[in-house]
Symmetry: C2
Subunit: 234 residues, 2 copies
């Protein structure tokens, strides 16, 4: 039996669960994926079903169960990343040397989960799902609002990555420190989809050379490859 | 000179800066407020001005500067709360006894900043600011989307607070543990405005008895009173 069970949606990783898969791979920890049915209240299989809500009250993925720690369960991707860092990054490979360095990691992690993913998520929903959901074209100002904000956020990243490249060199231009941290695994999971969704999100990555280099460099890591190649069951 | 400078918007605390004010008060740490001009690129006073962006690259509030720690600067309310807990909750009054307890605090903290505030914020923007911004009434499905999600999120809180009341008693029905933590200061800051905005957000708090008790109980703490009574300059 694998040490961890990682709950995801069936047939699809989802961007937040990918963060956890990447970090588990980086730490060399073994895990089993379990897929849940989207929008379903089925007791056993539904993401809003009784069994899943009992361990993850928000009814979203990812949730991580640690079988070597009395089945301790954590949900919210940011909290899971911090749990794994605190508990299992024992050689401090991805960590910080001080409370201050940890605060730098955490500010970029919180920026990703609060400033970046809700905006990219809302824009993608408007462009991809609004019509299916509401039977009308997405209102133009909804797209304007989230598109403007996504570009503002991407510019914040772009400037930070440029600064980090000047400070640490191109190969160590990570978001927070001079080595990859949970802030990077969080950001890269959401960046990794940008080349695929560039058209629908109307993001021209050529305008963000440091983000482009960061995506190319970061997603070449074996952890990304290992996550990508896993065939999701049904 | 106070130990900390806390950057907020002028004339207004804002819900995220309130979290930090409350926790600084709880910890008995002294701070000075500095107000920035909204939407302004004024070099010295603007929230998007050169001076502020140099210490807080996302150009939002709050940002905290710690003058007793070489002017170490943290932004993102979640990261600031964690920094203050790690560095200054030396008697562990608001803290955790283990990595596992900390993970429980953190999952509710991340839930607040990712699941709750973007939704309440987007709904308030639609109802209060859409017309001023775009010169049209807010699209009905924008309100439907964020209103439905806000009620879903409030139900997650309601069930958790009920569970905590059964486990720890009414007086200790805090979100994560049996005592207040940074997850509570984060949630209570955003809850504290709900009674005032019940009409515009169309939230009937009578439908959420445990949240109502939690707001009444939590916001009676002296820390809230101290934050509320501060007259913002200008």
């Amino acid at each position: 039996m694998a040490q961890f069970t990682l709950y995801i949606l069936e047939n699809s990783w989802g961007l937040n669960p990918i963060k956890i898969g990447i970090f588990l791979e980086e730490l060399g920890l073994d895990y089993e994926l379990k897929g849940l049915e989207l929008n379903s209240t089925d007791k056993e299989k539904g993401v809003k079903g009784e069994n899943y809500l009992a361990i993850s009250p928000n009814g979203r993925t990812p949730t991580l169960v640690d079988h070597k720690n009395n089945d301790f369960t954590v949900w919210e991707s940011g909290a899971i990343l911090q749990y794994l860092q605190n508990k299992y990054d024992t050689s401090n490979k991805y960590g910080s040397k001080s409370v201050e360095e940890q605060a730098i990691i955490d500010e970029w992690l919180f920026f990703q989960v609060t400033g970046h993913s809700p905006v990219q998520g809302n824009l993608y929903f408007a462009k991809n799902s609004w019509k299916k959901t509401y039977g009308e074209d997405p209102p133009q100002n909804v797209i304007a609002r989230f598109s403007t904000e996504l570009h503002r956020v991407l510019n914040v990243y772009e400037k930070q990555l440029e600064k980090q490249a000047q400070k640490n060199g191109d190969d160590n231009a990570w978001l927070a420190l001079d080595h990859p941290t949970i802030a990077d695994f969080s950001a890269l999971a959401w960046f990794s989809i940008l080349p695929l969704r560039a058209e629908v999100l109307e993001v021209d990555l050529a305008k963000y050379p440091f983000i482009s280099k960061y995506i190319a460099h970061g997603t070449q890591r074996p952890s990304f490859e290992a996550v990508r190649k896993q065939i999701i069951f049904k």
